[in-house]
Symmetry: C2
Subunit: 404 residues, 2 copies
């Protein structure tokens, strides 16, 4: 008897028809002799609707009351999915994050999982029920209701899979799996049948929207096997799992892109120990998520530091930047929110030198200027003009022969 | 420093504007130096919408999963009300029924309150917060989420008032108080400035829709003072409280009517001890709520028994009735769902003989046939044709000179 975790996103349970289709698949999985834990997101645009209501009644709603509000969305979907599964003659019980024993720290809106108790889930499974768990939510060590951050329904599924040693964690979504590039931009993009957790991590971090970054990190730390697939076609999707040394790696598993960030450049920074630390500590203290950081070699005792941050944080970063520039005695700073990042990800590039060179040549041949570069062992990222990024994705996908 | 409980119904918190108006009133009450516990219902038609969704995904949704679903409605409204109060600079915290310590039995959909713990509410009040409690819900002794039955948000408010010895339990609704008759039928109906809990109980039981019956019972048992008033005009409404022996009673405090019931008559029932017991035990076992019961004197060893039940229960009562008729060897039974009940309620009628006679004469003078009669010390009810009931209300309101 296998234990399967299935996660259904907002579009997968967007209306009663979709809920009945999902319930049918859950019931089949259970009837095939599997134990099943289901995690669901809020239906369709419910979360956005609730946020809009909150902004209509208060000026800066957040924290405890916002979490109380938003957790209603998953409560509705777990109840409806359970009813629909019960209606097919397969017993199912719904559980809130709190009832499922998802214990977190006390950071409202973005709580971190501390422990998964799961006693009631185990009991439900042992007595022959499908357990339907609300994604995205938990209970803090202070006994308050919290949310785990947007997109964290994936995290709930992966955490449940880790806690119960599930044979597979199936993430159902509205695409068929992980593609070599965004199929809306590259029509001949190819669905990968498998990629490694490390590749998925780099893809999630650089704009691959299929899985949330935190859930991939959690899966890697706990050895969870993820199967990303479609709840619309039910076709086999992409397996995301630990690297298998017997299997030859594709050199490149995908081209990702991300146009949600802005670039900040601090000019004429005195080249002294401790300066970079000061800059990024100040931003971290204000919870601004800094992504790429590039510092050039120093000339004449000064250097420029460039980094990217989410565009939505640009406005509230301005006073922090003014303070930093004064403190470290830099010449000033510039913000550029017309950039985008294009990345090549592939575990195979570790053993294939020349990937970066081919990438830079390809961009140059297409008259696309590279503004920043950063690399990891399995990724090369370039910052380019936002207006060039789709051409960059198509050119790279073609140059590395990733298409069908 | 007084402790005030305020309850806001679904229309009172029906949209963001209403929520901000309610928050303003709560903030004023708190700023005036009162401790405030607020209870809210789900916004507008939320509960109906959720029930519709449930019926779209399953054939007979109820029990545990239905309660999980419906409790989302009040969760949304407590969070929004708390945010809006906080936004006015008055600290407020929201609590689910479970967090408020409303402990119940295990009957899903219609749970009875067993105990109000309220530790977290006390803590919130002691530290200067408004406590906003979800109406209509609690946690069962089996640690499951339950609902207390429709209209039970009033009950939550009254139970909180009883637990904390509140100085007043203000029930805010979309009417200005308790009227001598339904103003939609009797334009000159008068708002009562006060009525007794006993009168309110009889009115609630006979079609007065302002307060739910269970909440009035709970208030009477625990000596809670209720003030029914409007959240649209904020004008003083009707005080519902224990009888004050120094105050002269109005003879009649109101005419109520109810067209939600059907009449069932069992014909030719053998006049033997135990027969009535059998009939009503069988119905009670199936949770059919029997209201008026009338049995005529027996002739030739047989009698007819008539009673009223909610029309919504007629269909599911049919097999029970067939079984009962066979068991007690009656001739058969008839169902009539075109009836309505008109009632006169008034604590003063105890000391004023002739009220019933005047009522019957008034109906006769208006050619309205009386099909069943039942009385209590402070109420007389007549079953009439449904098509006659509005005329009956107007005629009685006039005959007893109840108008403005």
């Amino acid at each position: 008897m296998a234990l399967i975790v299935q996660k259904y996103g907002g579009t997968s349970v967007g209306d009663p028809d979709r809920i009945r289709a999902v319930a049918d698949h859950i019931a089949r999985t259970a009837r095939a002799g599997n134990q099943v834990i289901v995690t669901v997101s809020a239906m369709g645009k419910t979360t956005d609707d609730l946020i809009r209501l909150a902004n209509d009644v208060a000026h800066d709603p957040r924290g405890r009351e916002m979490d109380m509000l938003l957790t209603a969305g998953e409560r509705i979907s777990i109840a409806l999915v359970s009813m629909a599964v019960n209606d097919l003659g397969v017993p199912a019980l719904s559980f809130t994050g709190s009832q499922a024993g998802i214990v977190t720290d006390t950071e409202h809106g973005n709580a971190k999982i501390v422990e998964i108790k799961g006693d009631r889930i185990k009991e439900a499974l042992d007595s022959g029920n499908v357990a339907v768990v609300a994604g995205f939510q938990g209970v803090s060590t202070a006994k308050e209701i919290v949310t785990l951050g947007r997109g964290a329904s994936d995290l709930t599924a992966v955490a449940m899979a880790a806690r119960f040693g599930a044979d597979a964690c199936e993430i159902y979504t509205d695409v068929e799996g992980v593609y070599t590039a965004d199929p809306r931009i590259v029509p001949n993009a190819r669905k990968q049948s498998r990629i490694t957790l490390e590749e998925m991590l780099e893809m999630a971090a650089t704009g691959g929207r299929v899985l949330a970054l935190r859930s991939v990190e959690y899966a890697r730390n706990h050895g969870v096997k993820i199967h990303v697939r479609s709840s619309f076609t039910w076709a086999p999707g992409t397996w995301v799992e630990e690297e298998n040394p017997n299997m030859e790696q594709a050199i490149i598993s995908g081209v990702t892109h991300d146009a949600s960030e802005a670039k900040i450049t601090i000019e004429q920074v005195p080249d002294q120990p401790g300066v970079a630390g000061k800059v990024f500590r100040s931003l971290a203290d204000e919870m601004v998520n800094v992504d790429m950081i590039v510092q050039n070699v120093s000339t004449a005792g000064h250097t420029d530091i460039s980094f990217t941050i989410p565009r939505v944080d640009v406005t509230r970063s301005a006073p922090i930047m003014d303070k930093i520039v004064a403190e470290i005695d830099a010449a000033g700073y510039q913000t550029d929110d017309s950039i985008a990042r294009v990345s090549l990800v592939g575990a195979g590039m570790k053993t294939h030198p020349g990937v970066a060179a081919t990438m830079f040549e390809t961009l140059a041949n297409n008259d696309i200027n590279i503004e920043m570069i950063s690399t990891s062992t399995i990724r090369v990222s370039c910052v380019v003009r936002e207006s060039d990024v789709e051409r960059a994705v198509v050119a790279l996908h073609d140059a590395f022969e990733l298409g069908v």
